[in-house]
């Protein structure tokens, strides 16, 4: 069974890992301790101490609060909402729905027609980090991307206790 040192998983998180090393990892069965190592690296890098249960984006985590609730939290410490709720609805949203706004990021004539497609950018209200970008039709609802069943994941898949019991 493959096993990797902490340094390798850090490189993986940072995206600085050598491709051939990565290819070997991708082609192999997943190492048993990966999630634990991965989570502890993420935990070490955030300035707050609420235990991370699961990452839900590049800068977002579902964390366990002392009072038993589970909320979505940003790198910077901004707390969005309960994990059952859609964090996107609690963020700052910038919609590029005119040719002018499109032209800020696309060369002329290479942008989508805003009547057909708009670009929605989601930002953290505290640190202004871009958290997510969607290219969708203008009428498209704001979808919740990911609805993890954290209890089953911990109890049955990982077989590992949750940081705070139910």
């Amino acid at each position: 069974m493959a096993e990797y040192d902490r340094r390798t998983i850090e490189e993986l998180v940072d995206g600085t890992i050598d491709f051939y090393k990565l290819k070997d990892m991708l082609s192999n069965f997943k190492d048993k301790n990966r999630f634990e190592t991965y989570l502890s690296i993420l935990q070490e890098r955030v300035p707050w101490s609420d235990p991370i249960l699961l990452p839900v984006g590049l800068h977002l985590y579902i964390v366990q609060k002392q009072d038993g609730s589970r909320i979505v939290k940003c790198d910077c410490g901004h707390e969005f909402c309960d994990e059952k709720d859609n964090w996107k609805l609690h963020s700052m949203i910038h919609v590029r729905d005119t040719e002018e706004k499109m032209s800020e990021i696309y060369p002329k004539l290479l942008a989508p027609d805003p009547q057909w497609q708009v670009i929605r950018e989601y930002y953290c209200p505290s640190c202004a980090t871009q958290l997510e970008v969607e290219a969708v039709t203008p009428w498209y609802p704001i979808i919740k991307d990911f609805e993890p069943d954290i209890d089953t994941f911990y109890n049955e898949w990982l077989q590992r206790p949750l940081p705070i019991g139910e």
């Binding site: 069974m1 491709f19 290819k23 991708l26 082609s27 069965f29 997943k30 048993k32």
Partner: protein, 712 residues
């Protein structure tokens, strides 16, 4: 006993140089020495010296007796894979400067296992051999029929070449769209480039793709011409140095190099890129030679090495050729002996799938590091070889002739903790399960390969060779119903034997597009035939020029004409030897069509022939062959069924299908022609092990070839 060394075959690898010296009785010795990349001839002579010590003789004594020498090596391939070739500049059509960089999408996953091919995250393009900064465009355009749509803007060539020279390129490659249809523009650019280079006083070779590979598919053609300039041409000097050095040691022949089309070529050959991939085809070439000698037209060749299982078919005495193979993750337009490979060999890693608790094999392997049982190899994952050791199939004290000491207790412990315990099996059951799984994978693969090509195993004789082949032959042929199953006593050296048995042969290909409808009038047939003949003449000339470099006259060359044909609009063509010696009249066209339909019927089905679609000739091929000395196939008088006592080495406990059995151990070299060996037996030789499991029997024929038979 005085030896008569006959053939020298050299396999120069990245770390070790192996030499095989074959005598007139088919006996051979293998020598090994460290490769010496700065001057390969040093390693080669050390290796030959090492080989000849087994015969108590020396290079000075034996080299003058040699009749031929064949080189195959990975030095060139290493130059390519490790990207240590020349700095090459590329001139293409203006507007298409990125096509080499973009490549074909298949190049992003070539060489991957099936699961990785499906797993897109693993796909990746290697950096191009010629970077975009060394690529220049020149305006011109030729359509696919060979008509000039935009003439060549000659005034653009000079600045393009000058810019490349300023950047310090060491070679220039020219490749234009459809140039195989209209070569003039590429040649014009080549001539201008040569003038510019001459003016600057530099000495830089220029490679126009049409002078090398006048074939369709520009990515393939460009890649191949670039490799020629980047890695192959720079190796010419190395080869000539080796040639000089063996001549100084008394050899009287010109060294030949194994080439991908299954023949050997001179070090002075125009196209050297095809010598890059020559290693694995040696065995197939040897099988064809053996088949010719024994009168066996259809052979299924199977070879198990440390990392892979290779299968190739010889049908009606002919190898099949793949005209767009790949190498070092590049698609190429070289003729390569077609071979199918799966990543399952003696060194394949054995693991338990953590999700499904099933045994998985490979696709990665320990290669020369054997397995856990070889402590010095530093491997800690169980390999197939470890299972062999656990079962008692291989003798840990006689692996590679005792060169490597294996530790059975290490193998036992590793199989126990990694495979047996997680599955709740005994160690022997687990190891036997691994071997059983491997053999059924190989068997399925072999069968599907033959059935997939439209044939059936009962039409073929299966030939098994390589270091690991005979160990599993019985397992992977079981129940397939081959006409016969052969294991040459020199199985381990069979690839080298094959290199020695290769013809001195050049093969050149040219793409054509000649369409003739069903029921066409005679004039159309003659017109198409005449164009085919023009292509053949051009290729004959090219072949003759090559042989001329070695002072071989045209009249001594056996020219064989081939063509590629398909039904109009179909995607796959067939390569067929022309039933005519030259094209003269309408009947000749009909003969070509008949030959095509006969082959089509054999490969697909009679009912699939579709003459109403009309015919396309898609290519002309010429092979020129010159007789050379080849290794002799041994022939000894038959002695009798009872093997001699001195060949008997005793008994060993071997675990087989649920219980320990006592197997007879025989020394392969001491068995005599005519001997029959009953199961359960293991035949050992320094470099291979041949297992005769229950349900099988074998006898050794007068050519020192074992026939393995299944008992009903």
């Amino acid at each position: 006993m005085a030896r008569r060394a006959q053939i020298l075959a050299i396999d120069a690898g990245g770390t070790m140089t192996d030499t095989f010296i074959i005598d007139d009785k088919g006996d051979f010795v293998v020598g090994k020495a460290q490769s010496t990349p700065e001057d390969e001839s040093i390693g080669l002579l050390n290796s030959a010296r090492d080989a000849l010590t087994y015969w108590d003789t020396t290079v000075t004594d034996e080299f003058p007796k040699l009749l031929a020498g064949v080189y195959s090596g990975t030095a060139m391939l290493n130059r390519l894979v490790s990207r240590k070739g020349r700095k090459v500049g590329l001139i293409v059509n203006k507007g298409l400067e990125d096509f080499h960089r973009m490549g074909r999408s298949i190049q992003s996953y070539l060489g991957y296992s099936y699961s990785d091919r499906l797993h897109l995250n693993t796909h990746r393009y290697e950096p191009p051999i010629v970077p975009r900064s060394l690529t220049r465009g020149v305006t011109e355009r030729v359509d696919l029929f060979g008509n000039v749509v935009i003439p060549l803007y000659e005034h653009e060539v000079e600045p393009a070449v000058e810019e490349l020279l300023e950047q310090g390129v060491e070679a220039i490659v020219i490749s234009l769209l459809q140039s195989y249809k209209y070569p003039d523009h590429e040649r014009k650019i080549r001539d201008i480039a040569n003038e510019v280079i001459q003016r600057t006083g530099k000495k830089i070779p220029v490679f126009a793709s049409v002078d090398y590979y006048p074939v369709r598919k520009e990515t393939h053609r460009t890649n191949t011409t670039i490799i020629e300039a980047y890695a192959a041409d720079p190796s010419r000097e190395t080869l000539q140095k080796i040639n000089t050095s063996i001549k100084e040691s008394g050899a009287t022949f010109d060294l030949r190099v194994m080439a991908s089309h299954g023949g050997t070529i001179s070090t002075q050959a125009n196209e050297l890129a095809r010598t890059l991939v020559s290693g694995p085809i040696g065995g197939v070439v040897g099988a064809r030679y053996l088949g010719e000698y024994l009168g066996i037209p259809n052979i299924a060749c199977s070879d198990i090495g440390g990392t892979s299982f290779d299968v190739a078919l010889i049908t009606q005495g002919d190898l099949s050729i793949n005209s767009s193979p790949d190498m070092a993750r590049l698609v190429l337009s070289l003729p390569l002996v077609a071979m199918d490979t799966i990543g399952a060999g003696a060194g394949s890693f054995v693991r338990i799938d953590p999700n499904f608790k099933s045994i998985t094999l490979g696709p990665d392997s320990a290669g020369s590091r054997v397995g856990v049982c070889y402590e010095e190899g530093g491997i800690d994952t169980v390999t197939v070889s470890d299972c062999h050791v656990v079962l008692g199939l291989i003798n840990p004290n006689n692996f590679l002739g005792g060169e490597i000491q294996l530790k059975p207790e290490r193998a036992y412990e590793a199989v126990k903790t990694q495979i047996a315990e997680p599955l709740g099996l005994t160690v022997e059951e687990a190891a036997y399960g691994v071997i059983d799984l491997l053999e059924s994978q190989l068997r399925n693969y072999l069968e599907s390969m033959i059935l997939g090509k439209g044939y059936s195993p009962s039409q073929y004789v299966c030939l098994s060779y390589g270091g690991g082949g005979p160990l599993h032959t019985a397992g992977y042929i079981k129940g397939l119903g081959f006409e016969d199953v052969l294991v040459p006593a020199w199985a381990a050296g069979f690839s080298a034997f094959g290199c020695g048995a290769a013809d001195f042969e050049y093969r050149y290909d040219k793409t054509l597009d000649l369409n003739v409808n069903d029921g066409a009038v005679d004039e159309e047939k003659v017109q198409a035939g005449d164009q085919l003949q023009v292509a053949w003449d051009e290729l004959i000339e090219k072949v003759a020029v090559e042989f001329d470099k070695n002072g071989i006259e045209r009249k001594n060359v056996d020219f064989r004409l081939y063509f590629r044909m398909q039904y109009q609009g179909q995607l796959n063509d067939l390569e067929i030897e022309a039933p005519i010696s030259s094209f003269r009249e309408t009947q000749d066209w009909d003969a070509l069509v008949n030959a095509f339909e006969e082959t089509y019927t054999r490969v697909y089905a009679k009912a699939a022939t579709s003459p109403e679609l009309g015919y396309s000739v898609t290519g002309a091929i010429v092979r020129g062959i010159v007789d050379v000395a080849k290794p002799r196939i041994p022939e000894e008088p038959l002695v009798g069924e009872t093997p001699p006592e001195e060949a008997y080495l005793g008994k060993r406990n071997v675990y087989w299908d649920g219980k320990y059995l006592e197997a007879d151990i025989w020394e392969m070299e001491k068995l005599q022609p005519g001997n029959r060996i009953e199961a359960f037996a293991i035949l050992e030789s320094p470099a291979t092990t041949f297992v005769i499991p229950p349900g099988f029997t074998t006898y050794l024929d007068k050519h020192r070839i074992f026939h393995l038979q299944e008992i009903e």
